[in-house]
């Protein structure tokens, strides 16, 4: 038995039946990281030594007859945008290269309360700005299905690490698709919760009205289990919403008879790769077979939403990234003599090209003379996008689209063309604009064996519905039993 192939619920079962110990599980994962990290390059900071120490302690307590929690000793990987006390949190930027978080993010407190073992901080695009993880200051993560391709982004390290079995699951963040798109490109499950369901406290801010923490897992059941851990109101995040504690594993039901699925035709048109489209059509036919009521409808917002996304996200980023001033916890340009020079030189030397590009765009659209033409219009389009989704959810329980217009592309093929990289987000950004939950589940592979993802969008705080929709499909089609990453060179 290859331990690292197992899902977390399978690990839990085997721990319970005394077939596996916490030590065996963690040693297996640490060995797997040793073996695969040189190829995949998913980690910015490995915490394998500390992880083994933690596992020993938990194992000792179990051996002494102490009862521990259901998730105690289960490994996890954390996107390097989430603050982890005493551990470097770099956001994949030279700006925060040496930053050691002095406190834990709320989601980390929750992970630690379960006594899960953080095996490392995972690679990403710098400040989560990108769709390929190529904009990391430190390294380029590879797609485990084909090492010459990108894992997607910005949470590419998280997606690749789960896909390559280097961690059983991971946390990521999603501002415009940064969980769902890499999950699709790496053949794993990725969930972005409703805006406000999970606390953003201690998560480095990119675009505060869009950012949300979510999960990468091997299957939908694990996704529900991990969402149970991280969801919940937090007084330290005034945008978090109190919807009470729910048990998302109760949504793991196979019966979807009568479920109303809306298929927005604009998300299957121009720019969507024909193999991706064909795979989605097969998945939709499967839903019909399973008793869902499927209807095509018009949701003509994708192109407006993408433009609006880049205006709003960059505007918020230009403001949020103002805090990186070289004074308190960031890179400081060594040759800077005056305060003004510290600001300018530190920022100019430590931000990468994409981050500067977005700060410039954001500053431009907020500057006097252009505010009304761009920023205000984008905020009105945001209302339009929300209205259109509201109308759709009067008729449908879920909306199904491709997660990404293409499968994983080659490293270097888009990194010098910002507009082309931005278009990779066309299917995912509107979900963030409207603050909705979305899940990506694998639904097939293309002719080159690269995974394809299906995005299931739900109404606000209706995670149960999208989890059920995803679970029913997964149980019927069993993607993980048919396809595995090949680490093709």
């Amino acid at each position: 038995m290859d331990i690292t192939e197992l899902t977390v619920h399978e690990l839990q079962e085997k721990i319970k039946n005394k077939e596996l110990t916490i030590m065996q599980i963690n040693e297996a994962y640490v060995n797997r990281i040793k073996e695969k990290e040189p190829e995949v390059q998913a980690f910015i900071t490995e915490l394998t030594e500390q992880g083994i120490e933690q596992a020993k302690q938990i194992q000792n307590r179990i051996d002494n007859g102490e009862k521990v929690g259901d998730l105690a000793g289960i490994p996890i990987g954390i996107k390097d945008i989430i603050c982890t006390k005493g551990v470097k949190t770099t956001c994949a930027s030279k700006m925060l290269e040496k930053f050691i978080a002095p406190y834990d993010a709320t989601v980390m407190e929750k992970i630690n309360a379960e006594e899960m073992i953080d095996l490392g901080k995972l690679n990403m695009d710098e400040f989560a700005m990108g769709g390929s993880t190529e904009y990391s200051y430190f390294k380029k993560t590879r797609n485990p299905w084909d090492l010459s391709r990108v894992p997607g982004g910005s949470s590419g390290g998280s997606a690749a690490a789960v896909s390559a079995n280097m961690v059983p699951w991971a946390l990521g963040t999603d501002t415009g698709g940064s969980i769902r798109q890499p999950a699709a490109l790496c053949g794993v499950v990725g969930l972005k919760p409703t805006y406000g369901l999970v606390s953003r406290y201690g998560v480095v801010a990119f675009a505060s009205s869009l950012d949300q923490v979510g999960v990468f897992t091997k299957d939908v059941q694990d996704c529900a289990i991990l969402l149970n851990v991280i969801a919940g109101y937090d007084e330290k995040d005034t945008t978090s919403v109190d919807v009470g504690q729910k048990d998302y594993t109760k949504s793991l039901q196979k019966d979807i008879k009568g479920l109303k699925i809306g298929v927005p035709k604009e998300f299957y048109g121009e720019g969507i790769n024909s193999e991706v489209k064909a795979s989605l059509e097969t998945a939709i036919a499967k839903y019909k077979e399973m008793g869902a009521e499927v209807e095509e409808f018009s949701l003509d917002i994708a192109k407006y939403a993408l433009a609006t996304y880049y205006i709003i996200a960059c505007a918020e980023a230009s403001s949020n990234l103002g805090r990186y001033d070289g004074i308190r916890y960031t890179y400081r340009a060594p040759e800077a003599k005056t305060l003004k020079e510290i600001y300018k030189k530190s920022r100019s030397e430590a931000f990468g090209a994409e981050v500067k590009r977005r700060i410039i765009l954001g500053t431009y659209v907020l500057s006097s003379g252009y505010y009304d033409a761009y920023y205000k219009k984008a905020q009105q389009v945001r209302t339009l996008v929300m209205n259109e989704f509201n109308k759709a959810f009067e008729k449908y329980d879920v909306i199904v689209t491709p997660t990404s217009p293409t499968t994983a592309f080659k490293l270097g093929s888009k990194s010098n063309n910002p507009m082309e990289m931005y278009l990779a987000d066309i299917c995912t950004v509107s979900v963030n604009i409207a603050g909705l939950p979305g899940i990506s589940v694998p639904c097939g592979v293309d002719s080159e064996g690269m995974p394809i993802g299906m995005q299931i969008i739900g109404n606000k705080f209706c995670e149960e519905t999208i989890i059920k929709t995803a679970y029913a499909y997964e149980q019927e089609t069993k993607f993980r039993e048919k396809y595995k990453p090949t680490f093709k060179k």
């Binding site: 869009l210 919403v241 410039i360």
Partner: protein, 95 residues
């Protein structure tokens, strides 16, 4: 709208960024291209629509104004690029 060299330098200055010569041309091209695309918002049917600033209902969240201590001072200061006597050190601000 055409982005000029002066404009990009003005924007960079507002954002506290110093651009190298080769960056200036690159960012003019990038910004122009992105703005051309972003102009699509002008074609959206948004007449009469209010603006939205956040995903959820905008309302004030109040809490008691209570002092809470944060005791990991060493943890904060260890990240300072320059410090002296438990203070962040910066160059002289007033001449």
């Amino acid at each position: 709208m055409q982005v000029s060299r002066e404009e990009i330098l003005h924007i960079a200055n507002l954002a506290q960024l110093e651009l190298k010569e080769e960056e200036i041309d690159k960012y003019i091209t990038n910004l122009q291209e992105i703005l051309n695309f972003a102009n699509i918002v002008n074609n959206a049917p948004i007449d009469g629509l209010d603006i939205t600033i956040g995903a959820n209902e905008a309302k004030n969240i109040f809490r008691k104004d209570e002092v809470k201590t944060f005791d990991n001072i060493e943890g904060l200061l260890q990240n300072a690029p320059a410090q002296d006597k438990h203070m962040f050190k910066i160059p002289k601000v007033l001449e």
